[in-house]
Amino acid sequence: MAKVLVVTSGKGGVGKTTTTAALGAALAQGGQSVCVVDFDVGLRNLDLVMGAERRVVYDLINVVNGDAKLPQALIKDKRLEGLHLLPASQTRDKDALTDEGVARVMDELRAKFDWVVCDSPAGIERGAQLAMHHADVAIVVTNPEVSSVRDSDRIIGLLDSKTAKAERGEEMEKHLILTRYDPTRADRGDMLKTEDVLEILSIPLLAIIPESQEVLRASNVGCPVTLNNPLCAPARAYADAAKRLRGEDVPMVLPTERKSFLDKLFMRRAA
């Protein structure tokens, strides 16, 4: 029986899709069976970030409507055993998703995998609410920027009121992933500090993902960052997050890029 995660944020462009791909891959790298699900109907992108865009035949709406069976729509990752993708539709809109249809598909996914990671669309409307509705655990992705923190606060409110768990009177488990963090700028006072964000949102911290060029590099080539370069700083931060989700006690450190002797010698090449 799977644990269902929703990766959500309110604001767009903060790293939901990157986080979904990276966490999904990191869990699969730990030997778990994982399905990442794109709920961004009409603007799908998880397929691109996962490098599966050329192989999409069926999507979430086809499965919800019964045009295809779930196993036919799942795309198996070619690099990593146990990792699967259920893409969103690119042509329809979110109104084609019925509540009952989504519930049925989520039940089927739950029975099939250890982890189901749902990539939420930006915003707070129906698409985002459908993505979070069946979650057991919510991952709130936030940048250290005022607009992102405020939107995350809205999303936390929805998680506590509009989800199936909330409707049953249970507490939704929530975790924060702080992305694009730059400790130098935070120390200089030019960027919100981790403690500031945690104090405002008051949900537990799952990981701090340092600002890194490796994230763009990975999405350029269509590979989750934890798979594309497992030793880089953001990949190690996501790998630790995956371990924490599995209940391991991993001390929270901000991973930094490991510079080799040659890199240090030729500092100019580093940028």
Partner: protein, 106 residues
């Protein structure tokens, strides 16, 4: 590209540009008929179902969008009995033909 470029790995941005160009070309071309694959599957299956009992769940559809062409793959599991049924049909037909020819001879 410099001489050094030959020995260097292709940059990730070059990979990104190629991937985007390819997928956008396909999406623009498909925009008129988003359900083409579903329709093709249904029609091809209907033709096959005229001859063999096919379980819809045992059909795997794959698609690979390449530069210039796409490849649609249909992997259909034929039940063990299916070919036997066909053979039986064929045998019946042969027997009929044989009977008719013997009748004629008589």
């Amino acid at each position: 590209m410099s001489i050094l470029g030959i020995f260097q790995k292709r940059t990730s941005s070059a990979v990104a540009r190629d991937r985007l160009q390819l997928i956008l070309a396909h999406e623009r071309a498909e925009s008129g008929r988003p359900d083409l694959v579903i329709q093709l599957r249904e029609e091809i299956l209907a033709v096959i179902a005229n001859h063999v009992a096919v379980e819809p769940d045992k059909v795997k559809v794959t698609l690979e969008r390449g530069a210039g062409v796409s490849t649609l793959g249909l992997d259909i599991e034929l039940p063990l009995g299916a070919s036997a049924k066909l053979d039986a049909k064929l045998a019946n037909k042969l027997a009929e033909v044989a009977k008719q020819s013997t009748k004629k001879a008589a």
